[in-house]
């Protein structure tokens, strides 16, 4: 099992997930720092992501869009808050309008990524997602229901097969 722990605090509105990989912290960092690698895992198979702006420096804005099965292209952005390669990445994660400007009607969460060497050639990555306020929660609830963001299961095999060719 890659995922080793999940902690959800319903009252504080945070979700923390930890995973362990047989790889170095630097290898895990690349998955975030190299946009071509990032876009191979950020979006679900039905909504693959394309990163058009990407720089992991504090204050930088990252821009991406996802492409849905019917050609729809929801856009998103990050605002990079804290960077300490290859150990820490903190960013605000939001949605964007068609022209790329932040969509103020959709919620912004803050993600804190922590990457640490745990010995034996293994690395632990923890991600804490925090919801800033209850209004944000409500919007995510309705957005998640409409876009089916998390309903991407079942197509992993296809992606794996494609990866085998391109890796």
């Amino acid at each position: 099992m890659t995922v080793t722990a999940v902690r959800k605090d319903t009252a504080a509105l945070t979700m923390t997930i930890s995973a362990e990989f047989a790889a170095t912290p630097r290898r895990i960092w690349q998955l975030w720092a190299d946009p071509r690698q990032l876009e191979r895992w950020w979006g679900p198979p039905t909504y693959p992501a394309t990163f058009t702006e990407h720089s992991l420096t504090p204050g930088a804005r990252v821009a991406y869009h996802m492409t849905g099965p019917s050609g729809d292209q929801p856009r998103g952005w990050w605002e990079v808050v804290e960077v300490d390669p290859p150990h820490t990445l903190v960013f605000r994660d939001g949605f964007a309008n068609d022209d790329g400007t932040p969509n103020a009607d959709l919620p912004v969460t803050t993600a804190r990524v922590t990457i640490e060497d745990i010995g034996g050639g293994r690395t632990r990555m923890s991600i804490e997602s925090a919801f800033p306020d209850s209004e944000a929660m409500e919007r995510i609830l309705s957005f998640g229901a409409e876009e089916g963001l998390t309903q991407a299961v079942g197509q992993i095999d296809t992606i794996l097969a494609e990866d085998g060719v391109t890796a």
Binding site: W41, L141, T150, I159
Partner: protein, 112 residues
């Protein structure tokens, strides 16, 4: 999912208080009335009554009559709204982590 009947704003602000969270967890078994619940906290009966009113408006607890007694009982549907969102985020990140794992495995195989 019966989300419509609940206002997430109210649910989350109601849960933002430690006493109210404790009341919600005690009231899951649903055997105590307001006076009995109030004994658990170093505050006045009126203060506890207010907390319960906030929880009631958020749909997190309800008062039910059993004979001559009125007990406070947690409404699990309300708790599920918050739980549901965090569950979705867990699922979202599990899928991302699976894809990260696949990428790492692929790149290792490519080197070998």
């Amino acid at each position: 999912m019966q989300l419509v009947a609940f206002d997430p704003d109210r649910i989350f602000s109601a849960l933002a208080d430690a006493t109210r969270r404790d009341i919600v967890s005690r009231a899951i078994s649903g055997g105590e009335g307001i006076a009995e619940l109030a004994e658990h906290y170093p505050m006045s009966f009126a203060a506890v009554q207010k907390h319960i009113a906030v929880l009631e408006r958020a749909g997190l607890v309800s008062k039910q009559r059993f004979g001559r007694r009125k007990v406070v009982r947690t409404r699990l549907e309300g708790l599920r709204v918050a739980q549901d969102l965090l569950d979705r985020y867990e699922q979202l990140w599990r899928e991302r982590i699976d894809r990260m794992q696949d990428l790492i495995t692929d790149s290792r195989e490519a080197i070998q």
